[in-house]
């Protein structure tokens, strides 16, 4: 079980890595590690979903990804994020988490998708 949560952390981390890469890539060969990190991201996502409910994994993954990119925007890329944007990003993330938790609830009820 603990191993699965490590996979969640790893997939979230590599998600942020390739997003960062998308923004700094300037040479053709930069895409080699970026594509590699995307596959690593997917690998850990699949691993995490083996033992944890998919909805839960994805909800956390999406939340960390969104918060992470917002922080990246402000502190690394020097963008400003107004209160309004933060507010609407937060609402959107709550919606994503809500949908994924609903998925998790259905999984526990044994409903077939």
């Amino acid at each position: 079980m603990n191993k699965s949560w490590i996979y969640v952390a790893l997939t979230s981390f590599f998600e942020l890595v390739w997003i960062f890469g998308f923004n700094v890539a300037s040479e053709w060969w930069h895409w080699i590690p970026i594509v590699f990190f995307i596959f690593v991201d997917f690998h850990f996502l699949a691993k995490a979903c083996e033992n944890l409910p998919t909805g839960t994994v994805y909800a956390i993954f999406a939340a960390i990804g969104t918060v992470g990119t917002a922080l990246m925007d402000v502190f690394i890329f020097g963008e400003t994020l107004g209160a309004g944007k933060l507010f609407f990003i937060a609402i959107l993330v709550v919606g994503v988490i809500g949908l994924k938790i609903a998925d998790g609830v259905d999984e526990k009820k044994g409903l077939v998708k």
């Binding site: 999406a62 990804g65 990119t69 944007k85 959107l92 609903a102 609830v105």
Partner: protein, 104 residues
């Protein structure tokens, strides 16, 4: 302009997810193209949107639309329950996307 790319990225991701499901059932050439092509296109469009929009805005909307799109497809075509929780969550995502659009 950037918004077209984000929407295209979200739709491509949905194609990729459908392809992945089909691919896991049967590894045909068509399913491989759907799977690889869908996700490949999603990342390409997302990359292009980053050139026009802030990273955090583009990423949040991509995740939101992708998630909402998957749920809508499941509801409309695969009989997933239309619980109040799901409807409320979909509304939140729509409000978030519209709000970010208005502020950009």
């Amino acid at each position: 302009m950037g918004w077209l790319f984000v929407f295209a990225a979200a739709i491509s991701e949905l194609v990729g997810v459908v392809g992945l499901n089909k691919y896991s059932e049967q590894k045909t050439f068509t399913n491989t193209i759907l799977f690889g092509g869908g996700f490949g296109a999603a990342f390409a469009f997302l990359y292009m949107s980053f050139n026009y929009l802030q990273v955090s805005t583009a990423y949040a909307v991509w995740i939101g639309i992708g998630t909402a799109g998957a749920v809508l497809i499941n509801m409309l075509f695969f009989g997933e329950s239309r619980s109040k929780g799901r409807i409320a969550s979909l509304l939140l995502i729509v409000i978030g996307v519209v709000g970010l659009k208005a502020l950009s």
